[in-house]
């Protein structure tokens, strides 16, 4: 039919070639080729089918297997080009059974893919873990302190020293009890004056001196009286030698002066600190300058 011996110039494709075309388009839908098909008839179709289809067709029509080695070779190179090249370079290529070679290559490829994917998975998991560590966590325990709470530190710089000294001197004039002035140390203010007495008694010659209540608690009039009176009394005796008698006399005089005051003054005097909440002192400015008490009363010589 389909021959050109009629002498026509144009070629109409043969029916067989039309069929081959259609079959090639649907090559992977082939399930079985039957027993009597010629290899060269079906070859163009087999060239277009996948490895699975080829395997299936071979299994159903075993006689085809003799001729399919070319097809398998083609499949090898098409599907796994890099691996085959690698093998060819190493000289490991076995040209006899291309079909088996194909399946070996397929396994190798699957293996490699598995390795790479597991590596990726691990990397991703590690990255996720690291991220989780950094995220905000809820807890009710305190985190470890970054640095230990510092106790009273020495004033490092000269400026700091000067500041402290000024502070200290100012404080002196506002307390009822005036300890001997000692340089170079900072002193903590204790809340209660009556407690000061036994404390002072206990500390004999130590430089630590407990000062009675400072700050602007007392009305300046009474305190000034005390202030003026006290230094007089303490300065006379030797300061370093006998701090004790001086301290003893100090509490006596303020008490005596207290009693001599009128009740009105006494009321305004703001008696010692027992009545006051010690915590309130936290919010009192240490400097008289920032005090919010009435300014008229404050006219200490220290200012």
């Amino acid at each position: 039919m389909l021959s050109e011996s009629e002498g026509q110039s144009r070629r109409i494709p043969t029916l067989a070639s039309y069929c081959q075309r259609v079959l090639s388009a649907h090559a992977d839908a082939l399930s079985c080729l039957g027993d009597d098909i010629r290899y060269d008839l079906i070859k163009p179709v087999l060239e277009c089918c996948s490895a699975e289809t080829l395997l299936r067709l071979e299994q159903s029509s075993p006689y085809l297997q003799e001729n399919t080695s070319d097809l398998w070779e083609r499949l090898c190179f098409k599907t796994y080009p890099l691996l085959v090249e690698q093998l060819a370079r190493n000289g490991e290529l076995r040209p006899e059974s291309w079909r088996e070679q194909f399946f070996l290559l397929r396994e190798a490829e699957a293996h490699r893919l598995e390795e790479v994917s597991s590596k990726l998975r691990n990397q991703r998991m590690e990255a996720a873990e690291r991220k989780k560590e950094r995220e905000v966590k809820l807890t009710d325990r305190l985190p470890p302190a970054k640095r230990a709470r510092t106790s009273v530190t020495q004033p490092k710089s000269l400026f700091q020293k000067a500041k402290n000294e000024v502070k200290f001197r100012k404080a002196l004039y506002t307390t009822r009890i005036l300890p001997p002035m000692v340089h170079g140390k900072t002193y903590r203010v204790l809340p209660s004056a009556p407690n000061a007495k036994p404390l002072m008694a206990s500390s004999s010659r130590t430089p630590k001196i407990c000062i009675g209540r400072t700050g602007a608690t007392g009305p300046p009039s009474a305190s000034t009286k005390l202030a003026t009176s006290v230094p007089v009394s303490t300065e006379e005796p030797q300061l370093s030698a006998e701090p004790l008698p001086a301290e003893h006399s100090a509490p006596v005089s303020p008490l005596s002066t207290l009693s001599s005051l009128t009740p009105a003054e006494a009321r305004t005097l703001k008696p010692p600190i027992q009545k006051k909440d010690p915590m309130a002192s936290l919010f009192m400015p240490k400097h008289r300058a920032f005090s919010q008490l009435p300014k008229a009363a404050s006219n200490t010589p220290a200012r």
Binding site: M1, V22, R38, L41
Partner: protein, 135 residues
């Protein structure tokens, strides 16, 4: 060798075209020269002789020069299913039509590809191969 039978009027019982006396038209020009192709499942296809002879195999079988029985009765039995015989006839007609077309004419070659359903393509391939035999 096929047995020689008398070409007689018994043709009348087999042909379908009633308007034409089949026997008389046998030796006339090709324009009215019909042959019958019979499939394995009993279907008959009437085609013009020039169409049927596109197939080398059929041409041999139907050649009036031969002594084959088929030639005498202008009937060819093809051992394929009717579906396939129909497609073969279609192809032969397609080819016969465009064979005589001038060089300037466009042949819609791809048109025929669509006319082959994939389900029959494999069998059709085998049938086409068989019928393609050259004269």
């Amino acid at each position: 060798m096929t047995t020689r039978t008398q070409a007689n009027v018994s043709f009348a019982c087999v042909h379908v075209r009633t308007t034409v006396d089949f026997r008389e038209q046998n030796h006339s020009g090709k324009s009215d020269d019909w042959v019958k192709l019979v499939s394995s499942d009993g279907y008959s296809f009437l085609v013009k002789r020039n169409v049927a002879t596109v197939s080398g195999t059929l041409r041999t079988m139907l050649s009036t020069d031969s002594t084959f029985r088929e030639a005498l009765v202008n009937t060819c039995t093809i051992s394929e299913r009717a579906v396939l015989v129909e497609k073969v006839c279609e192809y032969m007609a397609f080819k016969a039509q465009y064979e005589s077309a001038g060089p300037k004419e466009e042949i819609p070659l791809n048109e025929f590809t669509e006319r082959i359903p994939p389900e029959v393509a494999l069998e059709l391939l085998l049938a086409a191969d068989y019928l393609e035999g050259e004269a």
